[in-house]
């Protein structure tokens, strides 16, 4: 039952491990002083807006406990909204309300959530329960994403998002994350979401994985996963590539979603992107990182980097 592979086999396939990622990539290319660009979603949002990168609508920010009661007034014109900690980690502390009827709030699974529960959740956010290091935090109230029907049948209850690993500004690996019944509508792989590796050249599905094991069909909808074609692919690559410039992080994960009306939106940036993307792509990421390293010092623009990535990291 316990099957371990030989380290040499993994090394040969260029699989990046956690320790190497932490020391050789995050430790080396993500400067401490720029962490706030990605760890604080409010700053990420502002940076993105300054650089004309589309982000989900900001409804409001709750900074103090007494402002919590303002939330119903903030969202009065919305059909749904999301409350998330500005400095949350690992997708923790995100509350999604997809329906508001007669002042009552409903989660994506149809369950009602009382205003009190919502206040308590927001209060926890402010206290820093979900933030890195437990520091006091602020809660962001965001507009609900009207997700693009292109993924209908591929995702169960949640918003599919597109994760791209951007190394020194080059999108090197991509993955589409689809929520499942097992992941409770969340797009986090460790919670049971499906990851579909994407061809950097075309945005087509390559390979799919759930719970770190390869799969071919979506567990809830039984649709064939590698048939997926992500639309707006070129645009997504450009946005990811520019995220490097706005965040100054050398080893970066970008999370984007496709909105039915507004197109691709930058959801958040991640300074410590996970390694499961390699399983979703069925290949190690190291050869691509090395290829970028071999370019040495260069003056490529975001457009040129995307073109380079599309020709070299395809298939």
């Amino acid at each position: 039952m316990l099957k371990f592979s030989r380290p040499a086999a993994l090394r040969m396939n260029g699989v990046l491990g956690m320790n190497k990622r932490n020391i050789d990539y995050i430790g080396r290319y993500n400067p401490r002083k720029f962490y706030k660009h990605v760890d604080d979603k409010l700053i990420t949002k502002q940076l993105a807006l300054e650089n004309d990168i589309a982000v989900p609508a900001l409804i409001g920010v709750v900074r103090e406990q007494h402002e919590i009661n303002n939330i119903p007034a903030m969202v009065v014109d919305e059909t749904g909204f999301v409350i998330k900690p500005a400095k949350g980690s690992g997708g923790k502390g995100i509350l999604v309300i997809t329906d508001i009827k007669d002042g009552r709030f409903y989660k994506p699974n149809g369950q009602e959530i009382t205003a009190d529960e919502m206040y308590r959740h927001t209060s926890n956010v402010l206290s820093g329960l979900f933030s890195l290091g437990g520091n006091p935090d602020v809660a962001i109230v965001e507009g609900l994403i009207q997700f693009d029907p292109v993924f209908d049948g591929y995702s169960y209850e949640g918003v599919p998002d597109i994760r791209l690993i951007v190394y020194k500004g080059f999108p090197v690996m991509g993955m589409l994350r689809l929520s499942t019944a097992a992941s409770d509508g969340k797009a986090n792989l460790h919670q049971g979401a499906v990851g579909v590796g994407l061809d950097i050249g075309t945005g087509k599905g390559l390979h799919a994985v759930q719970f770190d094991k390869p799969i071919t069909l979506h567990p809830d909808t039984q649709k064939k996963l590698i048939d997926i074609q992500v639309p707006h692919w070129e645009f997504l690559l450009h946005t990811a590539s520019r995220a490097y410039e706005i965040s100054q992080m050398g080893y970066l994960g970008t999370d984007m979603v496709l909105d039915k009306l507004r197109g691709p939106l930058l959801l958040e940036l991640n300074a410590r992107p996970g390694l499961a993307i390699q399983i979703a792509n069925g290949r190690g990421i190291l050869p691509r990182l090395h290829q970028v390293d071999r370019l040495g010092h260069h003056t490529m623009t975001a457009d040129e980097r995307v073109t380079y990535a599309k020709t070299h990291f395809s298939g």
């Binding site: 993994l10 491990g17 020391i23 402010l126 390699q278």
Partner: protein
Amino acid sequence: MHSKKPFYILVLLLLITALATTAYRGIEQKVPFFPGEQQQSWSVDAKVHFLATDQAAEVSLSLPADPAFEILVENAISPGYGLNIADNKEGRRAVWSKRSPTGSQDLYYRVTLIPTGIDTVSAEQLPQTPKVPTWPAGEKIAAASLIDKAWSESASNLSYAQQLNKDINQAERSQNVELLLNENSPQELFLRLLHSKGVPAHIVSALQLEDQRRRQQLVSYIEVYHDGQWHLFNPQDGTQGRPANLLLWERSGKSVLDVTGGKNSQVSFSILQETRSAMTTAMELLDNNASQGFSLYQLPLEEQSLFKGILLIPIGVLVVVFLRVIIGLKTSGTFMPVLIALAFIQTTLLTGLIGFTLVVAFGLMIRSYLSQLNLLLISRISAVIIVVIAIIVGFTLLSYKFGLSEGLTITFFPMIILAWTIERMSILWEEEGPKEVFLQGGGSLFVATLAYLAMSADWIQHWVFNFLGIHLFILALVLLMGQYTGYRLLELRRFTPLAGEAR
């Protein structure tokens, strides 16, 4: 990319320092490498007996001076006597004195000795060439012939002595030897024959150590100088070399016991062999030379027991670093398992596990009520802390009522840590369901158990407290692991789908 050389030099320095201090402590200061190590020691009582002659009495007893034994404790019991221990180049002597003793007098000197394992006696300085003795007319020719024969058949001081020793103890002695032995004891003869050729030699008085012997007397041996060392001969039976468990009591050639103002004086010895912990011995030796002391044992007992706990933390930390970096286990709260493991040391493992699970389970139940109250985080945590204390008090009282003494140790759990664990678990339960709670809680307990097993091992407790160098070693290991960029063990499993043929 900057050079890693300074880093490896630092690690190497740490390792060398760790090794050196450990070796110094183990070999030089004789701190045993294993706990519970036993060592033989000898306890020797010298009893001086004499009859006082109603005048001022002075008793001088030579004290043992033997590199093969180290004196651990010595004391003299002598009611009514003034005692002075003189240490000069003729050796150490105990001098008792009293103005007007009457009747039969008993003085005691007691010493505890530890074998050092050194069985050679090296000369501190070149001995003086002895005066050539004059032989009485009747012995002169016999002696000269014996000396000439032995001298011609030998090459050095040592072989000359060996030859003489053989001649004196031959089954069929020559007439010359017979003649000489008529007037001399074998020792006297041996000594005079040696001195005749200018070979340095002297009589030593030694005590054969045997367990539970009483009224033992000193026996005489001859020490012969050769090449920087004193060699032991016994001309009584022709043997050479040092018998096992022989204690050289008097080596300067002086008398063992001098009594003025007394008569019928004699000294007798009783001997006891003792088995004692090597640790106790090392501590007493360190006490004896407090100047070279640099030991936690010099602290007051309370601080010592505090450090016994604190010094285990590096071990627990090492276990956690290893499990996270090399194995790839996740724990809830990085070093929480170490603190739990520290508590386990007080409670013992099983009681600890049960107690921890009970407290956390109860805490989770009460916390689920608190979560309905919609409290601010800080006051909720505070409430949980108070509730945890209440639970601990409740369990302690209950187990006391039922006579379960194990339950009383529950107070050793760090309450703040418990409260935070409960809070995290509770959030985890709400967000990810009970399965994740059991997974993470179980994982933390597993790591805590491993850390406990490492920290509770006798020899590890012995090492971390007695060999402080080991902590530098741990530091070096932790630093090295901080540079480890290889795969974690669990990643080898996780990335199995990627281990196939390269595409």
